[in-house]
């Protein structure tokens, strides 16, 4: 996180969905190697921000540059963006095993007309190992628990071998040990120099001290910077539109060196 080259650069980005603005004039530079937590209430544009960075939404105005190029441009294959979508969007009945799901992480790099080779299979096995679900490799996706599915999608994103990983609400709905292991994995990725962006709307679930940077979003960019500087009562109150936050319940350990 010491490096200063931006891996993501947004300049005056406006995004509308169905005629309504969901992101207003967002300008942002995320340094390579940063471990970023994105917080904001429901409907604050967290997922839209991710989808814009991924190139799934075209901004109405402004420019986006990710890994040096516009994310909507063709030829992005070489510049893979790892992505862990919200689990709820998945067809649980699809006839596909965990192994095959993780192998999909390799398809982007492989390109058309090529079949996965030895190296791809080796990467898949390694990623399954990393998230601790090797023993479930040949299980159909729908017969797993929510936490196990989440791990499978994280493994798929890891298999993309990208230097940038976006996780949309990865901890939501999971038990504490599973959340912990996801945060530990983020830590590991951080050590390896991977830039990660993680959203959450649940401040209580957010293990603040894991993140070097916090991004506060409420359609507009409220604040972005090192954790210590961003996590202040003023900024949080502004982010959550003055909604009284259960700051006491957040616990000292979550906010050490920051708030309180």
């Amino acid at each position: 996180m010491q490096t200063t080259t931006p891996i993501i650069k947004l300049s005056n980005v406006n995004v509308n969905l169905g005629g309504n603005p969901v992101l207003k004039n967002v300008s942002l530079e995320i340094p390579a190697g940063a471990c970023v937590g994105i917080i904001g209430p429901n409907g604050s544009g967290k997922t839209s921000l991710m989808r814009t960075i991924l190139g799934l939404i075209e901004p109405a105005a402004g420019s986006v540059e990710v890994l040096g190029i516009s994310p909507t441009r063709r030829g992005r294959k070489k510049h893979q963006i790892g992505y862990v979508p919200q689990v709820k969007n998945i067809d649980r009945d699809f006839p596909i095993s965990i192994y095959e799901v993780v192998l999909q992480g390799r398809i982007g790099k492989l390109g058309l007309f090529k079949r996965p080779g030895k190296q791809d299979h080796a990467v898949v096995k390694e990623c399954l190992e990393k998230v601790g679900i090797s023993h479930l490799a040949h299980t159909q996706i729908g017969s797993l628990s929510g936490g196990q599915q989440q791990r499978a999608f994280i493994a798929r994103a890891l298999a993309q071998e990208s230097s940038l990983l976006l996780l949309d609400e990865p901890a939501t709905g999971l038990d504490i040990p599973t959340q912990q292991s996801i945060y530990e994995l983020l830590e590991e990725l951080h050590q390896e120099g991977v830039t990660t962006l993680t959203t959450t709307h649940d401040l209580l679930a957010l293990d603040f001290h894991r993140f070097g940077y916090i991004l506060c979003l409420n359609k507009e960019l409220i604040a972005f910077g090192p954790r210590e500087r961003v996590l202040t009562p003023d900024i949080l109150a502004k982010t959550f539109s003055g909604f009284p936050l259960p700051l006491g319940a957040l616990g000292q350990h979550n906010l050490q060196g920051g708030l309180l």
Partner: protein, 280 residues
């Protein structure tokens, strides 16, 4: 044994056998993607919509199947376009295009003031009247489509399972979406030879749905779907020959029966005896 061999002395029956087998496999493989994407209505919509293409082909004295194919491919593209660009949901797009096109077809046909056997064959299937030229069309269409599916297999599966992630990874999602629609349009017109446009959905949906009852692995699902479809086609063909019923009907009914069998023996649910309350 004579029961099966005797009809095959006739050249028309040999053509019918090869034709139905090819169509059976083609529909089953494509149908697997149709079922997994939950777009079962697409075949029905395109098939009904193709009526206008057929009427236009008839008016122009063109080959009905080629005219129908070109027209239906256009319909498929239009449905895809409405869905992609106009943000119309997929089944709504099918509903709009198919009813409009079928209305056009009915209008044209009612102006012609006669119903030819060509048209009834197209509507309900006339597997026994397949010519050498038809068979060539069926076989080449089948080979091209199965080849395309093999080439784009991993991408088609990726898009069917998680189209958003596929797009993020750089898979040409929109291209594959249109390609799948084009393949379905072609298959629908080809399959209408044996099934008739009213019943095309039977092989596009039922065998894959039956296979889905029996397995939750994609490879086996494709193989089972193709087997169920092939069996339905062949049983249907002989039933059509001996019982003198429209081949589309006999094939569709056989496929339905095989679906019921798959449902009953499905390992995915409790044994039927248990669900009926009769203790296992």
């Amino acid at each position: 044994m004579n029961f099966f061999i005797e009809p095959l002395q006739y050249a028309f029956m040999q053509r019918a056998l090869v034709g139905t087998a090819a169509i059976g496999i083609l529909c089953a493989v494509l149908g697997t993607f149709v079922v997994l994407r939950k777009i079962a209505f697409i075949g029905e919509g395109l098939a009904h919509g193709s009526l206008a293409g057929l009427a236009i082909g008839y008016l122009l004295h063109a080959n009905l199947y080629i005219a129908g194919n070109l027209y239906t491919a256009g319909l498929a593209m239009l449905i895809g376009y409405l869905n992609e660009k106009a943000k119309v949901s997929f089944d709504t797009a099918i509903g709009i295009i198919f009813s409009t096109s079928m209305a056009l077809g009915v209008a044209l046909i009612s102006r012609m003031k006669f119903y030819t056997t060509d048209l009834t064959g197209y509507l309900f299937g006339s597997v026994l009247s397949i010519t050498d030229a038809d068979l060539l069309l069926i076989l080449s269409g089948t080979l091209v489509i199965l080849g395309l599916i093999m080439v784009f297999y991993k991408e088609l599966v990726f898009c069917s399972f998680d189209s958003e992630m596929a797009e993020v990874a750089g898979v040409p999602r929109a291209f594959l979406h249109y390609l799948l629609l084009l393949m379905i349009a072609t298959a629908v017109v080809i399959a209408s030879q044996t099934l008739g446009i009213i019943l095309v959905t039977a092989l596009l949906v039922t065998p894959a749905a039956g296979a889905y009852q029996l397995t939750n692995k994609l490879g086996p699902m494709l193989a089972l779907s193709a087997s169920i479809s092939l069996l339905s086609s062949l049983i249907g063909l002989f039933a059509s020959y001996y019982l003198n019923v429209a081949s589309g009907a006999s094939i569709a009914l056989t496929a339905a029966m095989l679906f019921i069998v798959s449902y009953i023996i499905s390992p995915k649910r409790k044994p039927l005896r248990t669900s009926l309350g009769l203790k296992a």
